[in-house]
Symmetry: C2
Subunit: 357 residues, 2 copies
Amino acid sequence: MDSIIKGDCVAALNALPDNSVDVVFADPPYNLQLGGTLHRPDQSLVDAVDDEWDQFASFEAYDAFTRAWLLACRRVLKPTGTLWVIGSYHNIFRVGSILQDLHFWILNDIIWRKTNPMPNFKGRRFQNAHETLIWATPNAKAKGYTFNYESMKAANDDVQMRSDWLFPICSGSERLKDEDGKKVHPTQKPEALLARILMASTKPGDVVLDPFFGSGTTGAVAKRLGRHYVGIEREQDYIDAAAERIAAVEPLGKATLSVMTGKKAEPRVAFNTLIESGLIKPGTALTDAKRRYSATVRADGTLACGGEAGSIHRLGAKLQGLDACNGWTFWHFEEGDTLKPIDELRSVIRNDLAKLN
Amino acid sequence: MDSIIKGDCVAALNALPDNSVDVVFADPPYNLQLGGTLHRPDQSLVDAVDDEWDQFASFEAYDAFTRAWLLACRRVLKPTGTLWVIGSYHNIFRVGSILQDLHFWILNDIIWRKTNPMPNFKGRRFQNAHETLIWATPNAKAKGYTFNYESMKAANDDVQMRSDWLFPICSGSERLKDEDGKKVHPTQKPEALLARILMASTKPGDVVLDPFFGSGTTGAVAKRLGRHYVGIEREQDYIDAAAERIAAVEPLGKATLSVMTGKKAEPRVAFNTLIESGLIKPGTALTDAKRRYSATVRADGTLACGGEAGSIHRLGAKLQGLDACNGWTFWHFEEGDTLKPIDELRSVIRNDLAKLN
DNA sequence: GAGAAAGATGAATCCCTGG
DNA sequence: GCCAGGGATTCATCTTTCT
């Protein structure tokens, strides 16, 4: 926990316990398959990613590698966990296909739009200005995963967060450099990207695993956001740089971290509780906001109207001829001259519950 | 040519001649795998894409289908042709992997960012606000494909066009509707998207093939932009709607369609031509813009400097210690007190050539 | 020291013709 | 097929150097 394991990612993953990780973030080799050298129009040389770790003999070799680490990740993932992978068109289609073949279930593909991507120097293609992330659950049936919908929406001017995200590439003081001023890692990811990912799909205290830890962006952001991290990395140089980097990170305070929650995360309140607590009395008449429908509260927490009866939701739906209905907002009670939704009574209960914490 | 073939796309493709198509645009079934029905928060039913043509028994079946139509497309594609496919995360990873397995060569993946995507009604995922296109050549060696780089750049405020494009979804008057006001096709693509694609990767008069013609957006845009189209479609209802739609399209005039070209398209001029036409005399001294290097023009069209000699490009590169150099912009001649690049003399020759036409 | 100018750089599958 | 050679091609941002 909160440490970096040195070694091959599959071997290291196999040494970890089952169902122990909340989120996997993986930035695997892209298998770029670059040809010769590339010069800018000013004749300067482009520093290509030609590291040994990005070389694969064939697509088959890359696929076998991908299958192996994805399977190893799934075993350590909790059933409610999710997995993120980032890639470019060189590799992401293979990763996505294999995820589906292994019965992972894709929740979204996310586009990281770069504000400042490298240009296309020869004018023979569109500027490659984005990378793609895939967000998936370990199987199609997995339902209890964390998605902080309300936080994302609030962070996005109160409209839902979209699948296209805009961030600058990692440069300037954030980019790790060695004593000679050379970049430590050729593909260091921006912290803002990881922060978005962790804020969306983890809760404080969750465990985040990164099987291709590299310069440790995942660890640094996890520590800052009050999440635990586990990193796996083969190369000692990267491990050293990442450890030093993470040691310098100051975690944010608890108050800052409290994830904004929407209705879903609020404690569930049974309609019966309102009766039990005396907020509403059996026999009370409830109506919809326009008084088109009326029903009577029964002692067991159901509503009745003519021959029909059922929960506040079912009866509301049945009377309107719909498949579903939110009874909390549909049904109203009389207070003085005005109608108020019974949701207000639920809020009273919730406030009482909150005081207990 | 400029017609819609009724039938299965692979069978119809197999009846077309080799090397006859400049660009394929394909909008294949997405294999959405939707479970159950989805309602909006107001309980209205979301009209899902649940057509028979979008159903596949398994990923294997979808893959076999994809392989078949991609192979059939490659045979009809010219060696200089390119292929576009659009999809979502449900199918695009499979399409991309198979493209690579078949040794197509990916030029770009393009993100269509939707200005007005459907919201995520359940708040359990990010809003799926984009679709992905892949642009590829038939093989890795294919080099002579059309990419109207200068047009794209000019259309994008004079910076190169990126891989993320922003368009609204197809709606309003553009959306084909039947007599009952119901949409004719569930996934009609916006004409602006096809226009961007055809303006980028075809020339006027080119042949564009769409093996999943649907409501005929490809044909309508091709006709408007002075390109030829070939459509393949199984369902007579779609064919009828597309034919009527295309018949109503007014092609743009020739002048409107001319494509902006860059220096690469200008006629090649040998440096020797400047000497032969008397614009520059043997023995003239040329220097770079900052007068750091100097060389003498020789009668055979080469430059000499000390013991070194060669073409204007080779000598410029050698003197600077670079691999390459554009001699036309590097070397300058004296006119009065100012230095002017010899490129200005090349322009004189090109203007004379243009007058001959 | 301030501001301007010049240099550096980023996951890159990056040319085309003619002999 | 290969090889040689002409000569065309970049955006946003951060750092360093010059005025």
